[in-house]
């Protein structure tokens, strides 16, 4: 198990370094940094001073290494637009996005696991079709449409939850529902397919032959194995979650990382964009690593690999 984790860790490190090269290149490719930092109407002299101050006249590999060293110490550079530390900007907003992401994921899993199991047990029946319909709708419906519908019903008519802001947990309910439902379909499909496979396996037949009650057969023997690919999907779906959070955070004016990414793109604020991309990619790498470890725990055969 330890060797397995070390191997995965090594792999994660390689991926993280690759990501850092790409993020570094992103900023260099966006145009001349010194000009951008100097602001509009700056003289060639002041631009030259900035170039020297920030070491932008050094060879690219040296610049990369010194940038990597800065990033490792939490220094992500200066925002062109907000004129502040990128790091401070990001860490001020990351909490909201984490809460939104975790809540959405929890909602997606809470919806997709029972529904997927139900659809698998009654596969081909009307229950299966209804569940599949419900999940297809999550995919077909644009998330802004659901967001607006939820705002209409729960914020304007029923006045149960606020439509915007990030002041209390109540602000997160509608965005998390929107985002959670948006990422439910792939989970639902995976749970359903995994459960249909698992219910047809020899070991489930063995469990039934042992005279175990149906509940135990479904939830212990079948579900445990059906969940293995779901854990992997959580990491993969994080991309979708991040993309979705840009839209959802913008609609609900939830001041998080997704909203910041949206702003940095529209203001061509590349250092901020670089920081967000780097952070999200690293989060992705860490989550993949975690899901590998959880998978190894769920499926003992992987531990030997």
């Amino acid at each position: 198990m330890l060797i397995y984790i070390l191997k995965r860790l090594g792999l994660a490190l390689i991926v993280a370094l690759t990501v850092s090269v790409i993020a570094f290149a992103l900023l260099r490719a966006s145009g001349d940094i010194a000009t951008a930092l100097a602001g509009e109407g700056a003289t060639p002299e002041s631009i030259a001073v900035i170039r020297q101050t920030y070491g932008l006249d050094r060879p690219i590999p040296v610049q990369y290494l010194s940038w990597l060293w800065d990033v490792a110490r939490g220094d992500f550079g200066q925002s062109y637009f907000f004129r502040t530390d990128v790091a401070g900007l990001i860490f001020g907003k990351i909490g909201n996005t984490l809460i939104l992401g975790a809540a959405s994921l929890a909602i997606a899993l809470a919806l997709s696991i029972p529904l997927g199991v139900l659809a698998a047990i009654y596969s081909g029946s009307i229950i299966d079709r209804a569940v599949t319909m419900f999940s297809l709708m999550g995919q077909a419906l644009p998330s802004f449409f659901l967001a607006l519908a939820l705002i209409m019903v729960f914020a304007i008519n029923l006045r149960m939850f606020p439509a915007s802001g990030a002041d209390s947990w109540r602000n997160f309910v509608l965005p998390a529902l929107t985002l959670g439902y948006y990422i439910t379909p792939p989970f639902m499909r995976l749970v359903r397919a995994g459960m249909i496979d698992a219910l047809n396996t020899d070991y489930v037949r063995t469990a039934r032959a042992k005279g175990l009650p149906a509940r135990r057969v479904v939830f212990k023997h079948a579900l445990r194995n059906a969940l293995v690919p779901v854990v992997g999907l959580v990491a993969v779906q994080l991309g979708l979650l991040m993309g979705g959070s840009v839209v959802v955070e913008s609609i609900f004016a939830l001041d998080g990382l997704g909203y910041l990414a949206y702003q940095s793109i529209s203001y061509r604020d590349f250092p901020v964009l670089q920081g967000v991309v780097l952070l999200l990619s690293l989060a992705y790498v860490v989550l993949t690593l975690l899901s590998d470890i959880i998978n190894a725990w769920l499926d003992p055969r992987l531990r030997a690999a």
């Binding site: 396996t201 020899d202 070991y203 489930v204 037949r205 063995t206 469990a207 039934r208 032959a209 042992k210 005279g211 175990l212 009650p213 135990r216 023997h221 445990r224 194995n225 769920l298 499926d299 003992p300 055969r301 030997a304």
Partner: protein
């Protein structure tokens, strides 16, 4: 005459398929006495697995069973939930594929004790003791440490021993073994057969042993049921079947057994020419007639069951072929 442990009368299994109803089992009847080994033998696809799954009420959803009588120790197993209550406790089953029959996600020990705890109860420690004891009984050394292992850490032969040990945890009276040695190599096969016979003697276990290999049958059977295309074509004691086979299909199968001394090394073993008829739709007359060397025009009409004592066969011919 004591009452049989298991009594099967006119058992049928029908499967819904896209091209029509497949009659996998076509009204078969047999009894199993306590402590005896009944072998069900026939070519692949003749309905042996469907029969065993129907007895355990474990048929896939597309399959439906019916019977005019199906009793275990006098209890009517066609009534809802009766088979469910008996299986895993008083009747157990092991399968052909030891590599996939155990759950990869749980330890051997966990899988062995869970049904025992559910059916018998008691403390977990006591159940674990019993599991270790059963592993030793099926010839697995260092049983305690095996309990903590996962299925993928064991060879096929060991897994089948684990399956047997697990099936016998609750001291069942009947063990259904569906081709339990087919996936194993010959040496392991012989060990497992000997193990089953030893356990049977020790525990007074009745065994339904299902195989396509008549050679195995001659080594372990007390009585034999020969199936062809979903129906029983001949039934009798092992001596009757091997010394005086009456049905042409049984004779053809026996010709396929390699005989020590008689069959030359490397000689082509006889296979029965022709193909098994489709199981979709009803069959009028003898299902074997397209492949039977002795068939006559009357064989296309319903065939009588002949025989005496414990020996019966379904053929137009009165005497052994």
């Amino acid at each position: 005459m004591t009452a049989p442990l298991l009594s099967v009368r006119d058992l049928r299994v029908d499967l819904k398929t896209r091209i029509g109803t497949l009659h996998a089992v076509r009204g078969i009847s047999f009894d199993v006495a306590r402590g005896e080994t009944l072998c069900i033998v026939g070519e692949s696809g003749c309905g042996k697995s469907m029969t065993s799954l129907a007895l355990m009420d474990l048929l896939p959803r597309v399959a439906k069973r019916s019977a005019s009588g199906l009793t275990f120790d006098g209890q009517d197993m066609m009534r809802p939930r009766v088979a469910e209550k008996l299986r895993g406790r008083r009747m157990a089953m092991i399968f052909q594929e030891p590599m996939t029959a155990l759950n990869p996600a749980f330890t051997i020990g966990d899988q062995m004790v869970e049904a025992y705890l559910f059916h018998v109860g008691g403390s977990r420690a006591a159940a674990v003791d019993r599991a270790a004891q059963m592993l030793e009984k099926v010839g697995i050394g260092s049983a305690r440490s095996r309990l903590g292992q996962y299925p993928h850490q064991l060879s096929g032969g060991l897994r089948q021993r684990v399956m047997i040990a697990m099936a016998l945890m609750t001291e069942p009276e009947l063990l259904i073994a569906d081709e339990p040695t087919t996936a194993l190599d010959v040496t392991i096969q012989a060990q497992i057969l000997r193990l089953l016979k030893d356990l049977q003697r020790e525990l007074g276990l009745a065994i339904i042993f299902i195989t396509h290999d008549l050679g195995l049958v001659s080594r372990i059977a007390d009585r034999v049921v020969v199936m062809y295309a979903g129906a029983v074509v001949e039934e009798g004691s092992a001596a009757e079947i091997f010394e005086a086979p009456a049905h042409p299909y049984t004779c053809a199968l026996i010709d396929c057994i390699p005989q020590p001394g008689k069959t030359e090394r490397g000689a082509h073993l006889g296979t029965i020419p022709g193909v098994v008829p489709s199981l979709i739709g009803r069959q009028e007359g003898c299902a074997f007639r397209d492949r039977c060397a002795l068939s006559e025009a009357v064989c296309a009409r319903p065939v009588p069951v002949r025989g005496h004592g414990s020996h019966h066969w379904a053929c137009i011919r009165e005497v052994a072929a």
